[in-house]
Amino acid sequence: MFSSIFNALSNFFSSTPSLYELVDIAEKGSLNKKIHALKNIDQEIYQWIQEAKSYVSESKIEKIAYLAIFKHLAILASHKLQNELQQTNNFNPDQMMLKIEKEKLKELKEMSWRQAFDKRI
């Protein structure tokens, strides 16, 4: 289930290799690599793991690290989509068309004025 969502997420960030690396670490990296990655993205979970790793099974720690990385990616995806939505909200093709037509009219008027002036001379 998660690998398909990972693929969907990594498509969002095709231009950012570091996020690809993060996906790679979450899916194939060792426990130490996962924990190390968490150091930069989720200090709270990282600290908890440091405190608890001698008392909790390795598989549980790995699951927590994996989910924490995945949560970070989901947060980033959500931010990116929010930005995209903002852009689509700001984009109004009708208004743009109107602007282009106005500019065209202005240029044509100027051309017509120059033509009339040259004929008189």
């Binding site: 969502i5 979970i45 908890w48 405190e51 608890a52 001698s54 008392y55 909790v56 099974s57 549980k60 720690i61 699951k63 927590i64 989910l67 924490a68 995945f70 949560k71 989901a74 947060i75 995806a77 959500s78 989509l81 929010q82 995209e84 939505l85 689509t88 909200n89 984009f91 093709p93 009708d94 743009m96 068309m97 282009i100 037509e101 500019e103 065209k104 240029e107 044509l108 100027e110 051309m111 120059r114 033509q115 002036f117 040259d118 001379i121």
Partner: protein, 180 residues
């Protein structure tokens, strides 16, 4: 040329007065010396008193320091005894247990296993919420994206505008040449 012989008595008087003056001067100098010596002695005495006072202060400080160190050591020993006693009396797997600095104790300070389960379920919930949010956003973006025909029309209009602008520029160039 007349030569007046000096009056002997006058000479004696003169030399006597001179001697008296010298004696008075010598006495004055001796007095001054004595005064200087007295002052110097006083200064040395003062210095000696200051030195003794300083020594006393240092001794006091050392005493205080030693006393503080002794008290601290005593407190540390009491704390050590206390920790050892609590570590030996602590029930195993107690939920109330606190993390201890004593390396002898091996009981976990918290129930980390239970906490791990809670974190896993919380992370799963958060991820699900985020994924729902992403799906909603994606749907909204698809809804907001203008259809292809409108985008093509816009591209064509832009192209036309560029062509008109170029024509206008050429005309303006010829027009200015004619005016000149």
């Amino acid at each position: 040329m007349s030569f007046e012989a000096p009056n002997i008595q006058e000479m004696i008087n003169f030399w006597q007065s001179k001697k008296q003056e010298d004696d008075a001067k010598n006495i004055e100098l001796a007095k001054e010396k004595e005064e200087k010596l007295r002052l110097e002695n006083e200064r040395l005495e003062r210095l000696e008193r200051v030195r003794i006072f300083k020594e006393q202060c240092e001794m006091e400080d050392l005493k205080k320091e030693r006393e503080e160190r002794r008290k601290k050591k005593e407190e540390e020993e009491v704390m050590k005894l206390f920790f050892n006693a609590t570590a030996n009396n602590k029930p195993e797997h107690s939920e109330q247990s606190q993390p201890s600095n004593n390396s002898v104790s091996t009981t976990p300070p918290k129930d980390f296993d239970q906490e791990a389960d809670q974190i896993i379920s919380s992370l799963r919930n958060q991820i699900n919420t985020l994924m729902d949010q992403c799906e909603n956003l994606d749907a909204q973006i698809t809804q907001n994206t203008p259809d292809q025909t409108k985008l093509i029309q816009l591209q064509l209009a832009k192209k036309q505008l560029d062509e008109i602008k170029e024509m206008s520029w050429r005309q303006s160039f010829n027009h200015n040449a004619n005016r000149r």
